[in-house]
Symmetry: C2
């Protein structure tokens, strides 16, 4: 066939790992700035210093690139606070820690959180994907907390751990949509405290009694309010649940 061009071509000779990470870094920026649909492969290629076609050597298509970028972010998220969490004692403090952490993660990376909620999770191939497993591990910490709380006799034995998980993470996501659309802000400490109190009352046999642990306390910006609320609570034991 006829030659397509007579121009001399510049060839990018960086090693593949480097080009991949350049592409992913560029993609992360562009997806975050413009969202999935408005992010152009051309933009990403330009910012990564490669040409469109090169992206397709490493990623099957635009969506796979998105998935890889979000996976990478989520993996970091998951590791970040594992040892901190291990030090927290008591159901109330543990729930609060996880709520606070989630609120903080969303606030730190609203654009990627949005991509996760809006583009990744609703997709029909989400279940079975790596991100599904990662997210499961992430939210499962709360399930374990509830199970442990039941086992130790602190929480009602008829509590459904997965329902608590949906209650907590659902509430957080619902509450953060305004922020995710760029229309407002929230105080993670204050919000975490309010959510935790409400949920804890729903699952505990007694009102919160665990001492505020230092790990958690350090995260607080509204400690005074918290202690006031803890003082109010009437300590009335509950009847055992249905079934």
């Amino acid at each position: 066939m006829a030659p397509r061009s007579a121009l001399k071509r510049q060839v990018n000779r960086l090693p593949p790992e480097r080009r991949i990470s350049d592409i992913m870094a560029a993609a992360k920026q562009v997806f975050a700035e413009k969202g999935y649909n408005d992010a152009l492969i051309t933009d990403i290629a330009l910012r990564a210093g490669v040409v469109e076609g090169s992206i397709y050597r490493f990623f099957a298509n635009k969506r796979e690139l998105l998935v890889k970028v979000v996976e990478h972010w989520f993996e970091e998220l998951l590791q970040e606070d594992a040892e901190q969490f291990a030090a927290v004692r008591g159901s109330w403090n543990q729930i609060r820690f996880l709520v606070y952490n989630h609120l903080t993660s969303i606030r730190r990376d609203p654009a990627l959180s949005r991509l996760m909620f809006q583009e990744i999770r609703p997709a029909p191939d989400y279940r079975g994907s790596r991100l599904f497993d990662l997210n499961r591990a992430y939210t499962h910490r709360l399930v374990d907390v509830v199970k442990a709380g039941i086992a130790s006799g602190e929480l009602r034995p008829d509590t459904s751990p997965s329902l608590v998980r949906d209650l907590v993470f659902g509430c957080i996501e619902h509450r953060t949509w305004t922020f995710l659309r760029g229309e407002g802000d929230y105080d993670p400490a204050e919000t975490a405290e309010a959510i935790t109190n409400l949920v804890y009352r729903g699952v505990a046999l007694d009102e919160p009694t665990s001492p505020m642990e230092s790990v958690v306390a350090r995260l607080e910006t509204a400690t005074a309010r918290l202690e006031a609320a803890a003082g109010i609570a009437p300590a009335k034991p509950n009847s055992p649940g249905p079934r």
Copy 2:
């Protein structure tokens, strides 16, 4: 310029209202079946018996068409159960009614619910849109329930109504994602009961006591289970209704 075609054209002469409703009906089907992105204007036009260009006489673009379709659906949803709800007494029953209704609406129209959650709500122009107002009205009923419950002394005075709203609707949406992706199902009655009990305990001064009202009971698909659970609850009459 040169004529574009020598073929005789068939002209659709239905009245505009009819063509608009045909287009919206077709769009509703196609969006529901394929989702926003994979729905082609060509498909919609074909199914509506009009030509692509005609759609643009009535709708500025594909997205406006989507918004109008979802608005239409949501408006019906909002009216449907207003008088039913008015008959429900007691915070527990009211919360349960709203939760049950939402779970049922999602289950009845998963595709449109998805479009609402995935395409409409995250958009930057959502706030200020008609759907924002409609959704606000929809969820505000729960806010009113909580406010009334506080006023009547049934619920804790330090309860945040908007937090309860986010807790409840967030939980429901989180819990329904599996179903929305077409991967499972749930029993609205059972789920509503579980959510309501958990949330109610978090906000109530005492354990749930309202009798199951007939309006709610009629909606049940798992009546037996519900009544068993109700049998357990200590029968203590409630303070009078809202306001």
